[in-house]
Symmetry: C2
Subunit: 251 residues, 2 copies
DNA sequence: GACATTTGTTCATATATCGCACAAAGTGGA
DNA sequence: TCCACTTTGTGCGATATATGAACAAATGTC
């Protein structure tokens, strides 16, 4: 791509949108400038543009995003066939298992939920399409990382802050690489309370007809209800069935 | 705002993202140009920028959005306190009612779901945060339109394509305005299979301490399970309770 | 296979944006 | 109240981008 085929004003604006987040629901011009590393004048123009277009509100001091911004993500969710294709299968899985079932894809070092059928909320965090979890300690993340060439998986882990969310979280890169090998071999990943105490899950890769891994499917359950070692026994057969059924339907 | 405080390259890029959608999951440069009304050269630059930043994939002919684009909507969902505040109340509502409960806000002529606790899927469409429905034929839409000054509500209806999704859909603007008056007076809205046959719902406005309507709450149920006239009797008390409990917590 | 049409790319140039420097307006503490 | 500090607004030259036309490539049609 040539230098002149890049619209830096657009790129800067997207960076400004991403500056908003849990810790930053309202941003002043100076704050947004600090977070993005962009010039104040530039950030100001981007924010005023967002405000003018109705993507943000401005009270003269702080900017906040409006729900109109959801149109951007909605463009993806409704444009991508994957969520619509897997949804009925997730509903069925969730129904049969009596637990939540989800599908996700990898975006950098994070897992992004693209579809979900929830039975009841068992996690303190509320997952929905667009939600993100660190890949290294999520069952779908393990499956998706295992599908990458090892060098690339290693590079992803290198870019991740491997923090121990619970006493059971695996944070040693070598141990994780070893775990990814095991996941690749056995074709599924089990997480035992590595993300949150009391929560276990099992995931399988979702492959297309050419054998490429395009997403991951999982079932999550409260540890009190199903102990981690039982997960495979109870849910792996139905996950495998779904995996096979979806194989000719994706991509 | 001055002319030069508007970054048109950014605005054009956002328009390009929104061009993607259910009917347009993959766009060529020419198609995107037609949909947006922008020059082919401009659209090409925007798309190449998205691709360069990882928000889109390019196979040399078609562009598709990547899940990275969900970061933009996620910036809103995690930045806005409303979804996090109402979620536990929706969970509780859903549990008590044995039905799905949702919260939404108005964006133009559409209702945008910002949080949801689903019991089981009763609609053919799958609703999730970011999902949109036309306001005129949804219970939360009625409640939110009723909260606007009548002139503004009339203007919204004027901008909406009032189509009859089912034989029961109200499509006459005057009849709708009349219905909005009734909703305003009684403090809730009931929809009887106007959006989809077999689906009923009841909604109440969610107000902040100053009495401003900031969102709507609803409970949806299969018509086979709960007839529309019973909705108010069965669910209005718990919706009102939730409305009162949330009032001091929002905004 | 030749023609017409659509699509993608390049280019020159008119136009708009960027980032800097400075001015103005708030903020908070002594 | 004043001063120091932070934040926001603005004018301007340098730089980057949009435009529309021209060309090239691909596609569809007869």
């Amino acid at each position: 791509m040539r230098e002149t085929d890049f619209v830096s004003g657009f790129a800067r604006g997207l960076k400004v949108i991403e500056a908003f987040g849990e810790a930053q629901p309202r941003l002043s011009i100076a704050e947004a400038s600090k977070l993005t590393g962009l010039d104040r004048a530039t950030v100001r123009r981007s924010l005023l543009t967002l405000s003018e277009l109705g993507y943000a509100d401005y009270d003269g001091k702080f900017f906040t995003l409006t729900p109109k911004i959801l149109r951007l993500g909605h463009a993806y969710l409704s444009a991508t066939p994957l969520p619509a294709i897997v949804q009925p299968y997730l509903d069925q899985l969730s129904e049969r298992a009596g637990q939540s079932a989800s599908a996700s894809v990898l975006d950098g070092t994070e897992v992004v939920y693209v579809a979900r059928a929830s039975q009841r909320r068992v996690m303190s965090i509320n997952l929905m399409p667009g939600s993100r979890l660190p890949a290294y300690c999520a069952s779908m993340g393990r499956v998706l990382l295992a599908a990458l060439p090892e060098a690339q998986a290693r590079e992803m882990l290198g870019r991740t802050e491997l923090k121990a969310n619970t006493p059971r979280t695996k944070t040693d890169p070598e141990e994780l690489i070893e775990e990814l090998r095991r996941v690749r071999e056995q074709g599924y990943a089990v997480i035992d309370q590595e993300l949150e105490l009391g929560l276990c899950s099992i995931a399988v890769p979702l492959m297309n007809a050419r054998g490429q891994v395009v997403a991951a499917l999982n079932i999550g359950a409260p540890a009190a209800h199903v102990a981690a070692p039982e997960l495979a026994e109870r849910y792996l057969p139905m996950l495998k069935e779904t995996q096979v059924a979806l194989r000719p339907l994706v991509q």
